[in-house]
C-alpha cells in the first residue's frame, strides 16, 4: 500500500522515444486506469513501474523511494498479465504460493495465505489442478490470486481481460472491482477498453502516442474532455465531431446550417474562430425521446440514414453538413431509413474545440 510517483518518465528504444515524459501521482489505495489506443505507451509505462523495462530517463518511486535501479523482485509489487502467465508445471496451489515460497515464508503462512486468496476468488475447488486444466476465466482468477497472496504495495494489471470472451469480461470486471474494495491496495490498470476504464477507475489517465492527454475521474474525463482525442476515445458510441465556424452568436456548419453558441461558452469564442462542435449521441435525440429536458436546447431537422435497435435505445445515423452523426432514441419507435425527424440538441452538454489545436473551449 503505497503511492506511486512518475516523474518525467521517458522510454527510448535506441533513438526512438516512445514515452515522452510522463508525470503522474498515484495516491494510496487509488485505482488508476491507463487507457489509450494500442501503441500509446500505456503498457510500456506499466512495465517501467514493474521494472520489466528500463527507464530511459526520469524517476519512478513506489512508496518513499526511487525504484529506477531496483529489479522487479525488490519493488514489492505484483502483476497480472494479459496471457495470465501462469507457471504451467505447477498446480494452482503451487502457482499461488510460489512467490511466498521464494520469499522463504514458512509452510503454515503459505497455506494460510493461499487458502485466504482461494477463498476470496472462489478457487478452493481448483487448487490441485494444473493451469492446463482450467478455463480462461479460472486462469485469470488464479493470476489475480497469485497477485494478492503476496500482499504487495501495489497491483499492476496489464490488459487482464482482453483474452476473455465478452460475457466473462464483464463478469471479471465486476470481480476486479470487488477485489479492490476487499483488498485495499494501490492499483495501476492498463486497458485499451474505455468501458473498463470508466467502470473501474478512481482516476483515468488517457494516453496517446506516449503522452498523457488527460487525467481525471471518469466523470471529468467523460463530461469535460480536454481535447478532441479524449472526446472521441471516451464514450460509446463516440462523440460526434463536426467542423464549424463561429459567426456572431452562432455555430455555422459547412453547409450553412447553424446552431446557437452554447450559452456557457458564449464568451469563450471569438467571431470567425474555426471550431469543432462536439456532441454525444445521447444529446442528439428525436423530440420526445431524450433522456431529460435540458435547459439550453436547440432543434435541427435531420434525415435518418440508418437505425440500429439495441433494446432500450436505438442508435440513429444521420448526417449534419455531410458528416455522419449518431443520435440516440430512448423509448424506441419504428424509424425507417429516409425518415425526417426533428432532433433536440442538448446545447448545455455540447462541446466546442478549437479546430487548429483540438483543445476544448472550456467554460470553467
Amino acid at each position: 500500500m503505497a503511492e506511486i510517483t512518475l516523474n518525467n518518465v521517458i522510454k527510448r528504444y535506441g533513438k526512438i522515444e516512445v514515452v515522452h515524459g510522463i508525470n503522474l501521482d498515484i495516491a494510496h489505495n487509488e485505482f488508476v486506469v491507463l487507457v489509450g489506443p494500442s501503441g500509446c505507451g500505456k503498457s510500456t509505462t506499466l512495465r517501467m513501474i514493474a521494472g520489466l523495462e528500463d527507464i530511459s530517463d526520469g524517476t519512478v518511486s513506489i512508496g518513499p523511494g526511487v525504484v529506477n535501479d531496483l529489479p522487479p523482485r525488490k519493488r514489492n509489487i505484483s502483476m497480472v498479465f494479459q496471457n495470465y502467465a501462469l507457471y504451467p508445471h505447477m498446480s494452482v496451489r503451487e502457482n499461488l504460493g510460489f512467490g511466498l515460497k521464494i520469499a522463504k515464508q514458512d509452510e503454515a503462512t503459505i497455506t494460510a495465505r493461499v487458502n485466504e486468496a482461494a477463498d476470496i476468488l472462489g478457487l478452493d475447488e481448483l487448487l490441485e489442478r494444473t493451469p492446463a486444466e482450467l478455463s480462461g476465466g479460472q486462469r485469470q482468477r488464479v493470476a489475480m490470486g497469485r497477485a494478492i497472496v503476496r500482499h504487495p504495495e501495489a497491483f499492476l494489471f496489464d490488459e487482464p481481460l482482453s483474452n476473455l470472451d465478452a460475457k466473462l469480461r464483464v463478469q471479471m470486471r465486476t470481480e476486479i472491482k470487488k477485489l479492490h474494495q476487499k483488498v485495499k491496495t494501490t492499483v495501476v490498470y492498463v486497458t485499451h477498453d474505455q468501458v473498463e476504464a470508466m467502470t473501474l477507475a478512481d482516476r483515468i489517465v488517457v494516453m496517446k502516442d506516449g503522452h498523457i492527454e488527460q487525467v481525471g475521474t471518469p466523470m471529468e474525463v467523460f463530461n469535460h474532455p480536454v481535447n478532441t482525442f479524449v472526446a472521441s476515445f471516451i464514450g460509446s458510441p463516440p462523440m460526434n465531431l463536426l467542423p464549424a465556424r463561429i459567426r456572431g452568436a452562432e455555430v455555422v456548419f459547412t453547409d450553412g446550417k447553424s446552431l446557437p453558441v452554447p450559452t456557457r461558452l458564449a464568451d469563450r469564442v471569438r467571431d470567425g474562430q474555426e471550431v469543432i462542435f462536439g456532441l454525444r449521441p445521447d444529446d442528439l435525440t428525436p423530440v420526445g425521446h431524450g433522456i431529460a429536458e435540458s435547459g439550453d436546447s436547440a432543434r435541427l431537422t435531420l434525415d435518418v440514414v440508418l437505425s440500429e435497435l439495441l433494446g432500450t435505445e436505438t442508435i440513429l445515423y444521420t448526417s449534419i453538413a455531410g458528416q455522419e452523426a449518431q443520435g440516440k432514441m430512448f423509448g424506441p419507435r419504428d424509424v425507417t431509413p429516409g425518415d425526417t425527424l426533428e432532433f433536440d440538441i442538448a446545447m448545455d452538454r455540447a462541446h466546442l474545440f478549437d479546430a487548429t489545436t483540438g483543445k476544448s473551449v472550456r467554460a470553467d
Binding site: 496471457n83 495470465y84 501462469l86 507457471y87 504451467p88 512467490g99 521464494i102 493451469p131 492446463a132 486462469r139
Partner: protein, 305 residues
Amino acid sequence: MATKRPPFWQREKYTPFLLLLPAILTLLFVVLLPLLFSLYTSFTGYRLIRPESLWQWVGLRNYQRIFADGDFWTAFGRTIIFLTIALNLEFLFGLGIALLINKITWGQRTLRTIMMFPMMFSPILVGYQFKFVFNDNIGILNNALQSLGLSDGAIPWLVDKYLANFSIIFAEVWMSTSVFAILLLAGLFAMPRDPLEAAKVDGCNPWQVFRHITLPFLMPFVFIAMTIRSLDVARAYDIVDVMTGGGPAGRTELLWTLIARTGYDNARMGQANAMAYVSILLSIAFTYYFFTKLLAARKYMGGAE
C-alpha cells in the same frame, strides 16, 4: 444366379493386405528375418569361418558364458559409466551454449550453423582427428603442452586407463554436444516470455527464474535429447575403434567394440549375437527410462497460455 466367386486377391477383404504387401515384404526381409536369424544364431555355436556350425544348437550355452564372462560385464559397466558421463557433460555444455546463444541478438543464425559443424563430420574422421590430437608422440596436444612448458614428458593420453577413457569421452562430447544445444535452443525459442516476467515480479532472482521456470520448461527437450543420445552412445563403436580399438588391453573396451571383436575378429558370431541381445536390454532400459520421464514432464505442456 450365383456369380462366380472372384479369386481371393480380388476380394475386398484382402485389398488392404495386397496394397501393404510391398511394405510387409520389405519389413519381413530387411528387419524381421535378420532379427530372427540373429536370435537363432545366438543359440548356436555359429562361427563365421565354419558355416556348418550354424546348425550346431547349443541351447543357452552362449548366454551362460556371457553371464560368467568378466570382460563382458566390465565392458557393460564401462558403457554405462561412459554413457552417464558423456550425456551429462553434453547436457551441461549444450544447455550452457543454448542459453548463451539465446541471449545474443546479433549473429544468432551464424552461430547456430557453426555450432552444427561437429555433427557434419563422420564419427570415424572425428576419431582420427582426436587420435592425432591425443597421440603421445606426434599429437598436437602434447606438443602444445610441452611448448608452453606445462609438461616435460609425453603424456600417454590414449594409453593410460583413465586418460584414454577421458580422451574418448572428450571426442564424443565434442562431436555431439550440439545435439543438446540445438534441441534446448529450440526449447528456449518456444518458451513463452510471460511466466519468466511473472516470476521476476514474484520475487525470483535470475537463478531462481532459471531453476523454477526455465528448467522445468526445458526438461521435455532434455529428455528427448537424452533418449536420442543414449541410443547413440550405447552403440558407440567408430570413435572408440579408431582411437584405441578398445585397448590397450581392453582398458577402453565398450560393449560394441567387444561384440565386434568377438563376432568378426574371433569369428564367434553366435556368441557375439548373444552379447548383442543382452546389450540391447541396456538401450531399451535407457529409452524406457527417458520416455517415462518425458511423458511425466510433458503432462503439463498442454499449455496455459
